[in-house]
C-alpha cells in the first residue's frame, strides 16, 4: 500500500491459487490501469498508421511521386471550400423558407415546401447535378433565343445550384425541428405583446431556434464539403478542378492513381477534421449561454464538521474518501 492513494487501493492482492495465465492477464490489466486512456488511444492510432504504412510499402507505394505531386492536388482545396461556402449560404436561405413553409397554414406555402423537400430528398444528388448541368442546357436549347446562353451553366454553376437545392431540402427538416423546439409559450408571449408574425419569428422564435439549428447545420456543411467532389463528374475545367479531379487526372496520366487518390482523400479528411474542431467549439459556446451558472461546490463550505444536523446531505460522499488536505480539519478518528 506504499504510496498508493487510498481510493484506488481497492485492487485485491493476487490470488496465489489462480492459474498462471490468469495471473499474467491480471498483471497486464493492473499495468494498463496506470496508463491514461488518451495515451492508449494515441498508441492505437499510431498502430493503425504503422500497419497502413507497412501495407503501402508492401504494394510499392510511390512516396516520391506523392511528395512531388501532392501540392498540385492540394491546391484544388480552395475550390472545395468556395463551392461549399457559397452553397451552404444558399441552402440556409432555402431551408429557412422551406421550414417556414412547412409550418405555414397557407396551402400554397405548405404545398410548395412539401414538393420541394419531397423531390430533392427523393432523388439522388448526382442525378440532380446532371439535371442542372445537362437538362437545363437542353431546355435552353429548345427555348432558343437568349435562353440558349442563359441556361447553359458551367459545371461549377450547376454544382452550386444542385448542392444548394439538395442540401436546402434536407436542412429544411433541421430548421423546422429547430423552430418547433421553441416552446409555444414563447410565441404566445410575443403575440400577447402585439407582435406580428414576422417580428415574432425574427425577434423571438428564430434566435432561440438558432441554438438548435447551428450544430446540425455545421454537420451539413462538413458533409457538403465532401459532396463537392461530385461536381468533378460533370467535368469541371482545370481552373475549377478540386482535389478529387486533380487527383484522378494526374493519377491516370502517371499511372499513380492510388497515390493521387490517397492525397486527395487526405485533403478532404484534414479539411473536415479542422471544421469539426471549430464546430465543436461553437456548439459548446452556444450551450454555455443557456446553462445555469451554479456556484461550484468549491465555493460552498466543503465540510461542516460538528455542526448540528450534519450539514449537507452530499457531505457523506466526502467522508468515504477523505482527501489528504482535509484530513486535518476532520475530527473523525480514523482507525
Amino acid at each position: 500500500m506504499e504510496g498508493e492513494p487510498a481510493g484506488s487501493g481497492a485492487t485485491p492482492p493476487p490470488d496465489p491459487f489462480a492459474p498462471r495465465s490468469h495471473r499474467f492477464w491480471d498483471r497486464i490489466e493492473r499495468l494498463s490501469m496506470r496508463i491514461p486512456f488518451r495515451l492508449k488511444l494515441a498508441a492505437v492510432w499510431v498502430g493503425i498508421f504503422v500497419i497502413l504504412g507497412a501495407l503501402f510499402a508492401a504494394v510499392k507505394f510511390d512516396t516520391g511521386w506523392m511528395r512531388d505531386h501532392a501540392w498540385f492536388i492540394i491546391r484544388g482545396v480552395w475550390v472545395t471550400v468556395f463551392i461549399a461556402a457559397v452553397s451552404i449560404f444558399f441552402s440556409i436561405i432555402l431551408a429557412l423558407l422551406g421550414a417556414l413553409g412547412r409550418l405555414s397554414k397557407n396551402p400554397v406555402a405548405y404545398g410548395v415546401a412539401g414538393f420541394y423537400t419531397s423531390f430533392f430528398r427523393g432523388t439522388p444528388l448526382i442525378v440532380q447535378l446532371f439535371l442542372w448541368y445537362l437538362g437545363m442546357a437542353q431546355i435552353g436549347d429548345n427555348l432558343g433565343g437568349t435562353w440558349r446562353t442563359l441556361l447553359v451553366w458551367s459545371a461549377v454553376q450547376a454544382g452550386i445550384v444542385g448542392l444548394s437545392l439538395n442540401y436546402g431540402a434536407y436542412m429544411t427538416e433541421i430548421f423546422r425541428a429547430g423552430i418547433q423546439s421553441v416552446p409555444h409559450g414563447q410565441s404566445e408571449a410575443a403575440e400577447a405583446l402585439g407582435m406580428a408574425y414576422r417580428q415574432r419569428m425574427r425577434r423571438v422564435v428564430l434566435p432561440q431556434a438558432f441554438r438548435v439549428i447551428v450544430p446540425p447545420t455545421g454537420n451539413e456543411f462538413i458533409a457538403m464539403m465532401k459532396d463537392t467532389a461530385l461536381i468533378s463528374l460533370l467535368g469541371t475545367s482545370m481552373g475549377w478542378a478540386d482535389p478529387f479531379r486533380r487527383g484522378t487526372l494526374l493519377g491516370r496520366a502517371d499511372a499513380r492513381s492510388l497515390e493521387a487518390l490517397v492525397v486527395a482523400a487526405m485533403v478532404y479528411w484534414i479539411l473536415t477534421a479542422i471544421f469539426s474542431f471549430f464546430q465543436r467549439k461553437l456548439e459548446n459556446r452556444l450551450a454555455k449561454g443557456y446553462v445555469r451558472q451554479v456556484a461550484g461546490p468549491e465555493r460552498k463550505p466543503r465540510f461542516i464538521s460538528g455542526s448540528a444536523g450534519g450539514g449537507y446531505g452530499g457531505g457523506g460522499m466526502m467522508v468515504q474518501v477523505p482527501a489528504p488536505d482535509t484530513s486535518e480539519e476532520e475530527v473523525e478518528p480514523d482507525g
Binding site: E188, A189, A192, G194, A196, Q199, R203, Y290
Partner: protein, 252 residues
C-alpha cells in the same frame, strides 16, 4: 369603481375544443380601475375566457371588446389579424409559466414590446424599462438573463414587460401557480401595488387571501359559465350556491 367606463366587455362568449364546450355563454363588463378575480375548479373555463380576451384562443361565438375594439372569432383575414394585434396592444398578459424570452436580459424583455411593436426610440424605452423594473423591485437584475432569476423574479419581470406596453387592462393567468410557496408573496405584493395604482385587472387565481383583500368583484366559474359573482364580502360571507361554498371551503 363600478361607475367607470367599461374597458372590457364580453358578450355571450362560447368556446369549444372539438366536441368539448369549455365556455358556455359568458357575459361581463369590466370597468376602468376594477380588479376582478376569476376562480373555480380547473376546467371550469376561467383561463379559457381570459385567453379569449386577447384572442390567444379564438372564441367559437360571441364577442370580446377591449377599449372600444370589438371583435368576434372565426377566420383571420389580414385586416382581422391587424385588429387583433391592436386589441392585444391594449391588453397586457401575464402567464402561469412566465414565458420570458430566455435569450434577452430582464431589461431587454421589458423593452421588447415598446421597441419592436410601438417603434419607440431605444433610449426613451430603456429609461422607462428601468423605471418599471424598479417598480417591481428588480432594477439590480436588469442585465441578468431569465435563467439566472428565481421564479418570483421572473414573474415580476413578466409583469413589468406587460406594463411596458401601457395596457388598458392586465390579464393574469394563474400568475403564482407555478411558483414555490415562499416566492408567491413577492409577486402578489407587486400585483397588489398595481391594483392600488388604479390598473384594471382580471386575475385568474386560487389565492383567496389576495382576492379578499384586493378584488372589487369575484366571479365563480363552474362548467363554463359564471355561476355566481359579487364583492369578496358577498362571496366569502353570503354565498348563494352550495358549489361556491364547497369550493371556497376547499381552498381556504
Amino acid at each position: 369603481m363600478a361607475d367607470g367606463r367599461a374597458v372590457v366587455r364580453v358578450g355571450d362568449l362560447h368556446k369549444s375544443f372539438g366536441d368539448l364546450e369549455v365556455v358556455r355563454g359568458v357575459n361581463f363588463e369590466i370597468h376602468e380601475g376594477e380588479v376582478v378575480v376569476m376562480f373555480g375548479r380547473s376546467g371550469a373555463g376561467k383561463s379559457t375566457v381570459l385567453r379569449c380576451i386577447n384572442f390567444l384562443e379564438d372564441p367559437t361565438s360571441g364577442y370580446v371588446e377591449v377599449d372600444g375594439i370589438r371583435l368576434t372569432g372565426g377566420h383571420r383575414t389580414r385586416s382581422k389579424r391587424e385588429q387583433i394585434r391592436q386589441l392585444r396592444i391594449k391588453t397586457g398578459m401575464v402567464f402561469q409559466q412566465f414565458n420570458l424570452f430566455p435569450h434577452m436580459t430582464a431589461l431587454q424583455n421589458v423593452m421588447e414590446g415598446p421597441v419592436s411593436v410601438k417603434g419607440f426610440p431605444h433610449s426613451q424605452v430603456r429609461e422607462r424599462g428601468m423605471y418599471l423594473l424598479g417598480k417591481v423591485g428588480l432594477a439590480d437584475k436588469a442585465d441578468e438573463h431569465p435563467i439566472r432569476l428565481s421564479g418570483g423574479q421572473q414573474q415580476r419581470v413578466a409583469i413589468a414587460r406587460a406594463l411596458a406596453m401601457d395596457p388598458k387592462v392586465m390579464l393574469f393567468d394563474e400568475p403564482t401557480s407555478a411558483l414555490d410557496p415562499e416566492l408567491i408573496g413577492e409577486v402578489l405584493a407587486v400585483m397588489r401595488e398595481l391594483a392600488t395604482s388604479g390598473m384594471t385587472m382580471i386575475v385568474v387565481t386560487h389565492e383567496m387571501g389576495f382576492a379578499r383583500e384586493v378584488a372589487h368583484r369575484m366571479m365563480f366559474f363552474a362548467e363554463g359559465v359564471i355561476l355566481e359573482e359579487g364583492t369578496p364580502e358577498q362571496m366569502f360571507e353570503h354565498t348563494r350556491f352550495p358549489e361556491t361554498r364547497k369550493f371556497l371551503d376547499a381552498v381556504l
